[in-house]
Symmetry: C2
Subunit: 114 residues, 2 copies
Amino acid sequence: MYGKYEQQMKKGVLDMLVLKLLEQEAKYGYQLIQELKENSRNVFALKEGTLYPVLYRLEEEGFVETEWSKPEGKRVARKYYRITECGRQAFVDISGLWKQISMGIMQIMGGDII
Amino acid sequence: MYGKYEQQMKKGVLDMLVLKLLEQEAKYGYQLIQELKENSRNVFALKEGTLYPVLYRLEEEGFVETEWSKPEGKRVARKYYRITECGRQAFVDISGLWKQISMGIMQIMGGDII
DNA sequence: TTTTTATATTTAGCATTGCTAAGTACATAA
DNA sequence: TTATGTACTTAGCAATGCTAAATATAAAAA
């Protein structure tokens, strides 16, 4: 019914969420999809066609670096994404922005958001 | 620097914020711009070219109705926007969606958002 | 009277990004 | 030999916030 709002509201935060998950250790695309879905309790259940373009963008901007590797016993090779120093700084700045904006929203929404 | 993220993060919430401000009483465009800016402490400082298309959309979707009126002593006529019953229901649903999504974000972000 | 200013609305066109949908590739299991 | 599960890629659409500029009017200033 209001699906278009859901889509729009997610804009701009995916980069931040992916950087967050990469803060601890390098991960590959499929893994990120699973973790986003689990950690957000199904709110961010992305299709591949949504996540991979995010990763390519992050790489272009220099926020992550990639490396192919095929762990033994695994079916196919995986492309691991590792956050860069630049990416860590971006994460700090972008999440600061999100704090600011979500505070602005809460101030307008008042009691309607708890 | 990260201005594009700011722009994207605001997507989808403007409709909700405008409906929230219209919940109490009918208001006109310029007034909404000022209130959004003040209430959000400068986070949502919209140009006219941003707000008016939002209002037209809300009208098309039947969430608001409009009426021109020129209060005495005022310079120009104003177009007042009044929320409809349908708009009130939409507000409830859209703000529910925002709660859900922002909760999802917080769950992934953990301590980075407080 | 004429010009300036403040108020208020409208519109055109761009950039970004989440989505659907489809396709590729390969190793293991049936 | 075929089917399945894992993993990555790409094309193209839809939605919306932004910049920029134009229009209109009445009150105030010159």
